[in-house]
Amino acid sequence: MDPRNRRRRIRRGLLGLCLGMLVALPAQAATPLRISFIPSQQTPLYQGVIAAAREALQDAEVKPVTRVIDVASWRHDAASIEAGSDLLVPIGIHATEAVLRLSRSTDILATLVPRASLRAEAMPATRRFGAVLLDQPLARQLLLVKVLLGPNQRIGSLLGPVSQSQASALQHVAQRLGLPLVAAEVADEQALMPALNRLLGRSDVLLALPDPLVFNRRNLRNILLSTYRQRIPVLGFSRATVRAGALAAVYSTPQQIGRQTGHILAELQRRPHGPLPAAAPPREFEVAINGQVARSFGLGGIDGPRLARKIRAREAQLSVAEVRP
C-alpha cells in the first residue's frame, strides 16, 4: 500500500477513533464483542501484545469479551471456538495461518504479522479481514536513511524470495524520495555472497528487508562483516538486527502493536460493523541505534528518539500520493 493511502487511512483511523470515542461514550451499552486472541506462542512477546490490546480496550472504556485461545486448542477445536467468537484475533504468523485455514465465517483481525505472510489467495472473501502489520512502511525506512545519513545515499538491498515482492514498491518509494536504489536478488544461499559483493561496490548503505533466506541469524553476521569491511552501514528491520550490528532500524514494539490492535478493537466494539483495516502498518515506531557501529562509522551522538521525531515529521509531510504508487 502506498504511503498516501496509508496516511489517509491513518488519519481516517484517528478520526474515526475520536468519533468513535465520542459515540462510544453513550454507546457503551452495545453488545460486547466476543474476541478470541489466538497467540502463535505463549511467550511474553505475544502476551505483551494481548496485554497492550486489553489495556487499550480498557482505556477506550469498551468491554468486549476477550479470551485467549492457544493455537493448539484452535487447531483442535476451531469450530467451537469460532462459534463462540465474534472476532478472531490471531497474533503472529502461525496463528494467522491456522485461523485463515480453519476459520469459516468469523471475522479476523490478524496482528503482528508480516506483510509477506498475507498471501492474497489466502485472504477470505466472505468475511472481514483486517491486519496490523509488523513491517514498517518502506518510506519510513528510507526516511531513516535520509535523516541518518543524509541525502544522496545510494541504497542497496538484498532481496530474497520473500522480500522480492516488495521490490517494485521499494523502487517507487525510493524514487519518490530521491534515493538511488540498487537491488540484488538472492535466489539461494550460494547466491548470497555474490549478490552482496555486487551491491557493495555500488551502494553506500544496505537496507535490510526481512527475508528468511538472506537475513537469518546465520548470514546476518557475515553480511554485516562484509558490509563493514566496505564501510557500508546496514539498516536493519528490528531491534535485534541493530543489536546484531546494523547501524539503525525503525521498529515497533509489541506493546505498540498491541495498543494499535486494541484501538481497532475498541473501534470495532463501538462500531461492530465498521470496516477492518486491511493491512495497517504500525502507527507507533521507534528508532534503534547501535552506538558502537555508529561510532565506528563516525556517527557519534545520534539519538534514536530525535531521529524518530524527525522521521515522523517527514512522514507527515509526505503526501499520500508520494508514498503510494
Binding site: 502463535s40 512477546l45 503472529g92 504468523i93 503482528l112 508480516p114 509477506a116 509488523l134 513491517d135 520473500v162 555472497m193 526481512p210 527475508d211 528468511p212 533466506l213 537475513f215 537469518n216 541469524r217 546465520r218 548470514n219 546476518l220 553476521r221 557475515n222 562483516l225 562484509s226 528491520f237 528490528s238 531491534r239 535485534a240 538486527t241 543489536r243 546484531a244 521498529y251 514494539t253 509489541p254
Partner: protein, 898 residues
C-alpha cells in the same frame, strides 16, 4: 623365604613401604604428567583448530582466501604446528600450509591431527521481538573444515624429560631414604645385636660376657637388665661351684683310696689264685709221685700175704697192708681233691647200672658196718631207672665217702641209702640219693663248714674218728662236677642225712628187667624195718606179692598158715642170738610139704660166719646188704633145693679173691706190656683173680694175637716198641668188623692230657695210670666185658718164663744195654726212640727203690715228651751219671757181701 637378620628386617620395615609408596606415587605422577602433557597438546590443538575455525568462518563464507591465508599462517607460527589446512564444505582445500604438504594420515605417530568443522556462528534469534519469519533450521553441514596438524616431537621430548626427571628424583629420594634408614636402624640394631650375642654366649655357658649400655630408653633398660642378670648368674655359679668342690673333695679322696685298695685287692686276688693253682697243680703232680711207691707197697704186701706166713708175720703184714691202704686212700683223696681244684678231673660218663654201683659201694663197706653192729640198707626205689649214663666210678666214690662217714660217725643203728627219682623228662632224669644214719648228728652251726676242705668237726665231743676231712669236700666237688647238688640235714644227736642229686641222661633203650618172680608169693621176716622194706622192694620189683612180719616169733605161725608161699626171706643179725634161735626153730618146724624156697640174709661178710649159719639153719646165707642180683640168682634155683649158689664161697687162703665183683675167672685177657716187671705184676695179680693171661711185649704181637681170636679184653701199655699202644689199638679197631667191640684198657705212666686224648681217639676204651690198683682193674674188666666170661678157659697161656730174680738185680742187668741204646738214640737225634726207651725203663725203675735215677728218668721223659730238645743234653748226662753211680753202688755191695 629368606631369613633376615634384625638389621635386615628393620631396613625392610623402613624401606618397603617407602619404596612402595615412592614407586606408586612416581608412577602415578609420571603417568599423570604424561597424560597432562598429552592433554595439553590436545587442548592446544583443539583450541587452535577451534579458533581457526571460528576465525575462518567469514573467510570461507565470503570466499576470501586472503583472510584465510593470513589466519592459517598465523596458526602455523604457533609452536608444534606443522600444517594447517582449510577446506570448504566439500573438502576441497581452500588454504594449505605448508603448501603441497599432504595432510598426514591421522595415524601418523609423529603428528597429531586436529580438525574442526567451520560452523557459522549464529546470532541470537532475530525474531524474538519481531517475528518476521521462522528462523530456518541449522544446516547440518559445516561451512568447511579446518585441519591443524601438530608435531609430537616436543611432546615426546617433554615426556622423556618428565620421565627421566621423575625417575631420577625418585631414585635419589630412595637412596637418601635408604641411607637414612640404615643410619637410623643402626641405632636399634647395634644394641640388639650386642644383646643377641650376649644371650648366645650365656646360652653356651660363657657367663663372662660384657654388655655395654649404649642406647636409650627401653633398650637401655634391657641392656642394664642383661648385665645384672649375667652378673648374678656368674656369682651364683661360682657359689655353686665352690659348694660342689667342697662336697666332693672328701668324696674324691675316698674314691682315690678305694681305687688304690681295689687295685691292691685285685693284685692280691691274682696272687692268691695263682698260688692256689700252683698248689693244686703241685698237688696233682705230686700225688702221682706219692701213689706209685705206695702201690708198690700195697701190691707186694698183698703178695706177701699170699705166701706162707706164720701168724705173727701175717699179723704184721695185715697191719702194714691196712696202713698202706689207709695211706693210699688218703692220697687218693688228696689227689682227687687237688685234681678237681686244678680242674684236671674229667668225668668218664658211660652207660651203667646205678643199682649195681650203689650195691657195690655198700658191699665194699659192709664189713666195716657189720663190725660195728650197724645195719646197712639199700633202698633203690622202683621208679628209678637203673640204666643211666653217668660216671659210675665217681658216683661210687661219693657213696663210699658218704656211707663211710656214716659208718664212722654212727655208734649204732641203721644206715640207709635211698635212691629216688626226683624229676624225669624224655631225655634226662634227676636222681636223689640220701645216706641216713642214726649217729651223733651235726649241729646246724657246723653244717656250713662241712664241705670245705680240711674241715673237721672240731667239737671235741663229736670227735670220735680221725680223718683228714677231705671226704666231704671231694664229694662236693664231684657232685658239682656231675651236675648235681649236695647237702645235709641234721640235728645234733639226731643222726644225719646226707643227700645229693644226680642228673643223668637216660639210656635210650630202657630195659625192663623181666619180672622173674611174677605171681609168686613171698614172706619177709626182718626185724629191722628198713631192711625189711628194702627186701620187700626187691621182691616186689621182681613181681612177688610180699607179706611182711617183723618179729621172729611170728614166723612159725606164719609159716604154718601160709600155704602157697613160694619164697621165705628172713633177715638175721648175727648178734641177735634170740632171733637166730627163734628162726632156727621155726625153720626146723616147717611143714614138711612146703615147697617154699628159703633165703637167709645175714649182716656179716665173714665166710666162717656164713658157713656156720648155713650149717645151723640149713639154708644158704647171703650177706647183707640186700643185692638184687644175688637174691634173684639165689631164687633162680628150682624151689626146694637148697641152692648152693654162694658164689662168694670163701677159700681159706684167698680172702679178697673169689668176691663176685673182682672174679675174673674165665676171662681171657691179653696183656701187652714191654716192661717185664709190670708184665709180671699184672700176670700175678690177674691170674690170682682167675683170669687167664697172655703176655705180649709189643703192639705188633698184640694186634696179631687179637686177630687170632680168643681174647676177651686187652690191657695195652701205651708206650711200647715197634708198635705203641695207640697205634696198636687203632689197628685193632680198624680190624673189627662184626660190631663186636673188644674192650681195650690202656696203661700209662704219663698223666699228659694230650696222650690221654690220643689214646681215647685211637679207640682205647679207658685209660688207667700206672701203677694200677688190681681190684679196681678187675671190676673195670668185668664191667667192660659186660657178659659172662667164657667158661672155657683157654689156659694155653704162653706165659713167658717169669723172671724171679729180684727186681733190682734185673734192673742192674738191664742197665748197660739200656744206656747203650739211649746213647745211640741220642747220637742219632732219634728223640722218639729215646722216649720209648726212657718210658719203658722208667716203668721198671718205679718199683725199685732208686729215687735219684727214677727222678732223672722222669725229668728226661717229660722233657722229651714236651719237645724241649735243648734241655735233653744235661738231662741225659744226669741219667747216665745216676746209672753209673747205681752200678758202682751195687758192685760195691756185691763185693761187700761176697
Amino acid at each position: 623365604m629368606i631369613r633376615l637378620g634384625l638389621t635386615g628386617r628393620i631396613l625392610l620395615l623402613a624401606l618397603a613401604p617407602v619404596v612402595g609408596i615412592a614407586l606408586v606415587l612416581s608412577t602415578y605422577f609420571i603417568h599423570n604428567q604424561l597424560r597432562s602433557l598429552d592433554h595439553t597438546l590436545n587442548d592446544r590443538g583443539e583450541t587452535l583448530a577451534r579458533h581457526l575455525a571460528g576465525a575462518s568462518e567469514y573467510g570461507v563464507f565470503s570466499g576470501n582466501r586472503e583472510i584465510l591465508q593470513a589466519l592459517a599462517r598465523s596458526t602455523l607460527n604457533e609452536d608444534d604446528v606443522v600444517a594447517v589446512t582449510i577446506t570448504d564444505r566439500l573438502g576441497a582445500p581452500l588454504v594449505q600450509l605448508p603448501p603441497q604438504a599432504t595432510p598426514p594420515a591421522p595415524l601418523d605417530a609423529q603428528v597429531r591431527v586436529f580438525s574442526q568443522p567451520i560452523e557459522p556462528q549464529t546470532l541470537p534469534p532475530l525474531n524474538e521481538e519481531a517475528p518476521f519469519f521462522d528462523e530456518p533450521a541449522a544446516s547440518p553441514e559445516p561451512l568447511g573444515w579446518v585441519v591443524v596438524t601438530l608435531s609430537l616431537d616436543r611432546l615426546a621430548a617433554a615426556k622423556n624429560a618428565q620421565i627421566t626427571n621423575s625417575v631420577l628424583i625418585t631414585l635419589f629420594g630412595l637412596l637418601l631414604t635408604l641411607f637414612l634408614a640404615a643410619r637410623l636402624s643402626r641405632r636399634l640394631t647395634r644394641p640388639l645385636s650386642q644383646l643377641h650375642r650376649a644371650a648366645e654366649a650365656i646360652q653356651h655357658g660363657d657367663l663372662t660376657v660384657e654388655v655395654k649400655p649404649q642406647s636409650t630408653g627401653e633398650l637401655r633398660t634391657l641392656e642394664e637388665a642383661f648385665r645384672s642378670m649375667a652378673a648374678s648368674l656368674r656369682s651364683r655359679r661360682d657359689d655353686l661351684q665352690r659348694q660342689i668342690d667342697q662336697a666332693t673333695a672328701g668324696l674324691r679322696e675316698s674314691l682315690d683310696l678305694v681305687e688304690k685298695q681295689n687295685r691292691a685287692l685285685g693284685e692280691a686276688r691274682q696272687q692268691a689264685l695263682a698260688a692256689s693253682r700252683t698248689k693244686s697243680t703241685f698237688l696233682a703232680n705230686m700225688s702221682h709221685e706219692l701213689r706209685t711207691p705206695l702201690n708198690g707197697i700195697l701190691g707186694f704186701t698183698r703178695l706177701l700175704h699170699k705166701t706162707r706166713l706164720d701168724t705173727e708175720q701175717k699179723d704184721y703184714v695185715e697191719t702194714i697192708e691196712r696202713s698202706a691202704d689207709e695211706l693210699l686212700h688218703l692220697l687218693n683223696d688228696i689227689l682227687d681233691l687237688s685234681r678237681v681244684e686244678a680242674g684236671k678231673l674229667s668225668l668218664q660218663r658211660r652207660a651203667c647200672n646205678l643199682r649195681e654201683v650203689v650195691d657195690e659201694a655198700l658191699t665194699l663197706l659192709a664189713p666195716g658196718a657189720f663190725a660195728k653192729g650197724l645195719e646197712l640198707v639199700d633202698l633203690f626205689y622202683r621208679d628209678v631207672p637203673e640204666a643211666v649214663i653217668t660216671d659210675p666210678d665217681r658216683v661210687r666214690q661219693i657213696l663210699l665217702n658218704l656211707v663211710g662217714n656214716a659208718i664212722k660217725f654212727s655208734p649204732s643203728g641203721t644206715i640207709a641209702v635211698r635212691s629216688m627219682l626226683e624229676e624225669e623228662d624224655a631225655q634226662e632224669v634227676l636222681l636223689r640219693v640220701t645216706v641216713s644214719d642214726q649217729g651223733v648228728g651235726i649241729p646246724p652251726a657246723a653244717q656250713a663248714r662241712l664241705f670245705q676242705s680240711f674241715e673237721q668237726l672240731d667239737d671235741a665231743s663229736t670227735r670220735l674218728q680221725t680223718g683228714a676231712g677231705l671226704g666231704l669236700a671231694i664229694c662236693k666237688s664231684l657232685v658239682h662236677l656231675l651236675g648235681g647238688e649236695i647237702g645235709v640235714e641234721s640235728e645234733a644227736g639226731q643222726g644225719a642225712t646226707f643227700w645229693f642229686t644226680l642228673p643223668c641222661r637216660k639210656v635210650a633203650a630202657g630195659t625192663q628187667s623181666p619180672l622173674r618172680l611174677a605171681g609168686q608169693r613171698a614172706l619177709v621176716c626182718e626185724a629191722n624195718d628198713l631192711s625189711g622194706l628194702a627186701l620187700s622192694h626187691v621182691l616186689e620189683g621182681a613181681g612177688c606179692q610180699v607179706d611182711r612180719c617183723q618179729a621172729a616169733e611170728m614166723l612159725l605161725p606164719r609159716l604154718r598158715q601160709a600155704t602157697g608161699v613160694d619164697i621165705i626171706a628172713i633177715g638175721l643179725q648175727v648178734r641177735d642170738t634170740a632171733t637166730l634161735d627163734a628162726v632156727a626153730a621155726a625153720l626146723a618146724q616147717r611143714p614138711a610139704g612146703s615147697t617154699a624156697r628159703v633165703l637167709l640174709l645175714v649182716d656179716s661178710v665173714e665166710p666162717q660166719t656164713l658157713a656156720h649159719l648155713r650149717r645151723r639153719l640149713g639154708y644158704p646165707c647171703l650177706p647183707k646188704p640186700v643185692r638184687r642180683r644175688e637174691i634173684l640168682a639165689a631164687l633162680d634155683a628150682p624151689a626146694g633145693e637148697p641152692a648152693a649158689v654162694n658164689q662168694a664161697a670163701p677159700t681159706p687162703t684167698e680172702t679178697n679173691a673169689g668176691r663176685a665183683d673182682t672174679d675174673l675167672s674165665g676171662y681171657r685177657i691179653l696183656v701187652a706190656e714191654d716192661n717185664p716187671i709190670n708184665a709180671r705184676l699184672l700176670d700175678l695179680e690177674l691170674g690170682r683173680l682167675g683170669a687167664s693171661i697172655r703176655l705180649v711185649g709189643n703192639g705188633q704181637e698184640a694186634v696179631a694175637t687179637v686177630a687170632a681170636g680168643g681174647i676177651d679184653l686187652v690191657l695195652m701199655d701205651v708206650q711200647m716198641p715197634i708198635l705203641n699202644g695207640i697205634d696198636a689199638s687203632r689197628a685193632i679197631r680198624a680190624a673189627e668188623t662184626d660190631g663186636h667191640r673188644l674192650p681195650i684198657i690202656g696203661l700209662t705212666a704219663s698223666l699228659l692230657a694230650s696222650e690221654q686224648n690220643a689214646c681215647l681217639g685211637a679207640g682205647i676204651d679207658t685209660l688207667l695210670s700206672k701203677p694200677v690198683e688190681t681190684n679196681g682193674l678187675a671190676r673195670l674188666i668185668r664191667e667192660l666185658c659186660g657178659r659172662a666170661p667164657a667158661r672155657s678157659s683157654h689156659a694155653s697161656s704162653t706165659r713167658p718164663k717169669l723172671d724171679r730174680r729180684p727186681l733190682k738185680a734185673m734192673l742192674l742187668a738191664e742197665m748197660p744195654t739200656v744206656e747203650q741204646t739211649m746213647r745211640e738214640a741220642e747220637a742219632a737225634g732219634d728223640w722218639t726212640r729215646l722216649g720209648e726207651i726212657t718210658h719203658r725203663f722208667l716203668g721198671g725203675v718205679s718199683y725199685c727203690d732208686v729215687p735219684p735215677l727214677r727222678d732223672a728218668l722222669r725229668e728226661l721223659y717229660g722233657a722229651i715228651k714236651q719237645g724241649h730238645e735243648e734241655n735233653l743234653g744235661p738231662l741225659l748226662t744226669q741219667v747216665y751219671a745216676e746209672m753209673d753211680s747205681l752200678q758202682r753202688q751195687s758192685a760195691e755191695a756185691r763185693q761187700a757181701s761176697a
